[in-house]
Amino acid sequence: MKRPRILIVDDSSVMRKIVERSLRQAGLELGDIVEAGNGIEALAAVNAGPFDLILSDINMPAMDGIEFLRQLVTIESCKGTPVVMVTTEGSESRVVEALSIGAKGYIRKPFTPDQIKERVTPLLEVLR
């Protein structure tokens, strides 16, 4: 199996580290992990190279996760890249909005490594 290249987008550097650690604790074999602090940085990262999976927060300064997702789906090279929202957002409407734009799922903070594994593993199966 190809080791997936993953983009983690969150304005909290601590949360980015926790998401990465949770992916490793879940037993997933990982390739490059790239971090971005907001949607603008994330768009720069996806324009620099493709990812197999993107995990993105919603509530971020500069450009939030919804706007990032909206712009991401218009980039030809990113079509098919699964995006999972990782958020404290308790609002169903924000989550539904993300799913309607193209997100493949969401994980609510606080989360356990098992919850990350459960959501992410099926999306990485296509790399087998």
Partner: protein, 165 residues
């Protein structure tokens, strides 16, 4: 006229008797899941005034307007950050601020998710952290204040929700 704002005003939510226990539960769940730490609720007392040189705050706007804050001593905040990061050594000051901000954000999100009328009609701000030896938190909120304090390792954590009427 702003239809979105009107809709939020029409669904304005006021605190009720369950909110105190929901705030406690939301806080305990975040610490249990993200820090693998069981918090102990301290008995309520009028003398129990929040103190400590580190405060994180998250604003709420929409059907509920107010501020949720978490206050503790810096050594307590450092311990919380270390647990979150799985770090045994010293934690960088920037990571300590980031960690307590994210804990505050998660408590606010978890709390509002437990109240159906808030979940879809209340937005959270990006967190703010204040650090210093001598400051007093004064909120202009003119509504209720819901507060709880918890024992955490050898320190105390104060959590409060100040509601604007």
């Amino acid at each position: 006229m702003n239809p979105a704002l009107d809709a939020k005003i029409q669904t304005a939510v006021r605190p009720d008797a369950t909110w105190g226990s929901l705030l406690e539960l939301a806080t305990k769940e975040v610490f249990q899941i993200m820090l693998q730490s069981d918090l102990n609720t301290r008995p309520k007392s009028l003398e129990d005034v929040a103190s400590g040189d580190t405060t994180a705050m998250v604003g709420l706007a929409g059907s509920l307007c107010g501020v949720l804050s978490i206050r503790c001593a810096s050594r307590t905040a450092e311990s919380m950050a270390g647990r979150m990061l799985g770090s045994v050594g010293p934690v960088a000051a920037s990571d300590v601020a980031d960690a307590i901000a994210e804990i505050c954000n998660m408590v606010a999100g978890n709390f509002k998710g437990k109240i159906s009328l808030l979940a879809d009609h209340c937005m959270l701000s990006v967190p703010t952290v204040i650090r210093g030896d001598d400051y007093e938190m004064v909120t202009i909120a003119d509504g209720e204040q819901i507060a709880a304090s918890f024992g955490y390792e050898n320190g105390v954590i104060w959590v409060s929700l100040a509601v604007h009427s």
